[in-house]
Symmetry: C2
């Protein structure tokens, strides 16, 4: 496949095309993923998450600079499942993309729900695979917001950085709760603002509540100001320190295996669905079935169980 | 089934037990859902959503009062997929539950991700069915936050109310974008705050952008202050006006049929997954398969396609 070779040389247009093929669920998708699969597994994937206004983009911009200073290639996947009216990339991302437009060592890609047939998680997983095969050393998944899709997406990362800022309302802070349990590293950003130390103590307190661990084994909490570029390089270093720790302890491998398990299960589920649609002539029949359930003539589980039994008896399933 | 009869009389303990049976994915679940299915389809389901801090709970509290004034039974499902450390109901809900603890005409149930084997959407769908069969006139689904799960859940409603407040940051407002497209009614809450009229204009502008409609056919935008109880009764009336409009136009029926379709597809998917796990002896084999994909010895799609073909050849699928 010519496209695969081009991806492997890091060709920007080939990478963009490949990601589109995957997110639009084209027929080429399967062959493409399988063809590049042998060349993956080398990139570190860092997840950057946190509530809106926590300065995630600025942090990621700093990381891009640090990586380029070290001559490393970096890709950023900015995930925004809220599918704004604007459709696609938010303004900030467009500006960022322009800044790095001429640098083949930086690739920024926005993912919004709109227009992704297979869903944002599938599209993100696909983009990860492409960037990995294209030789990017580091891939950042940056999420806008902290909903369940974002959690699903961020869990594809090898390491998760949660960014918080002092002085946000309690309700906004509450949103981070689900994600606190899976963060590997905390950043109190805008640390020059009043209340940074208090926020750090609060995070520590919540982490202690949520675990049986002693304080020493809790995830590190770093203070920085991305805007003023203080503490950011130390944060950057500690991320890679921790990634190497994960690599040596086997944690990295086990996380990646969980990611593979989810992928296999996902492929099986979609193949089964396809098959079912054909075997039951779903397209033609579903309307009538819905009507009958709606009119309370048939009951949902009883109906499905019967259909499954029919298929099994006919040796179809 | 004795439980079914108790549910139908509105017995509080029976309802609570039934919801637990469903959310814990017990074996009784299927029979229970099927048994009460004939007695459903009567309740109006109202979805109340919006960003944190928009005053959703206060609005819902007002609705509870208005319903009780009219001697109608009302159930509230408070959905919070962020699964906070506290686990389960948030403090506000607990207080609300206590307030109405002795009134059998009000039932408030919190749904957090934690501990729901089948996921929050399934649990919510189950609770809807139970409340419907138990004779509640109105069921409110209230979401905390506006992520993708919340959208999935809120789409189970017959009508969706989106609550916004003036003066929130742009980034927070951006979060509502995905949900703006599916809202049937807008509320500018805290309308005594500066900027309420401007927010109303902004909403109108965004709605005009997102559609080909003329201004007259756009969803209504109401102003109210839930806290001061001004404009709330008018809002409440317009919700039921609109619901009756939906009923007469056939929109209500078609929305409910979409809900049924999703339910049927969901049941099929879970049955198929069960079958696959047995036929492929998944439990025993998945570890080895993951290992081989991880070591790049096999490719994910090629592998799944082969397995599917084996099953088809053996007349298993």
């Amino acid at each position: 496949m010519d496209l695969v070779n081009k991806i492997r040389t890091g060709n920007t247009r080939a990478i963009a095309k490949a990601i589109s093929l995957i997110e639009n669920e084209t027929r080429e998708k399967e062959e493409l993923i399988d063809s590049i699969h042998p060349f993956t597994g080398n990139a570190f994937v860092i997840g950057v998450t946190g509530p809106p206004g926590a300065g995630k983009s600025t942090i990621v911009d700093r990381f891009i600079q640090f990586e380029r200073d070290r001559n490393k290639k970096i890709a950023v996947i900015a995930v925004d499942p809220s599918s704004p009216f604007s459709g696609g990339a938010i303004l900030g991302d467009r500006l960022r993309m322009q800044t790095h437009a001429t640098d083949p060592g930086v690739f920024i890609r926005s993912m919004a729900s709109r227009g992704h047939l297979g869903g944002i998680s599938t599209a993100t997983a696909g983009a990860l695979t492409i960037f990995d095969a294209a030789g990017f050393d580091t891939i950042i998944i940056e999420t806008i917001g902290v909903g369940q899709t974002e959690v699903e997406v961020i869990e594809m990362a090898d390491l998760i950085l949660l960014t918080l800022v002092p002085g946000m309302g309690d309700e906004i802070q509450a949103m981070k709760a689900g994600i606190m349990e899976i963060a590997d590293l905390f950043l109190v950003n805008k640390c020059d603002i009043d209340g940074a130390d208090r926020l750090k103590s609060e995070i520590e307190y919540m982490l202690m509540l949520g675990s049986e661990q002693n304080k020493a084994s809790l995830p590190p909490i770093k203070l920085a100001s991305a805007k003023n570029n203080t503490g950011t390089e130390e944060l950057y270093s500690s991320i890679f320190e921790r990634l190497n720790l994960f690599k040596n302890s086997g944690l990295l491998a086990s996380r990646r295996k969980i990611r593979i398990q989810k992928e296999i299960e996902h492929i099986f589920a979609s193949k089964l669905k396809e098959l079912l649609y054909i075997k039951l002539n779903m397209e033609e029949n579903i309307g009538l079935w819905i009507e009958r359930v709606y009119n309370r003539e048939i009951r949902p589980y009883n109906f499905v169980n019967k259909k499954m039994m029919e298929l099994t008896k006919e040796n179809v399933l």
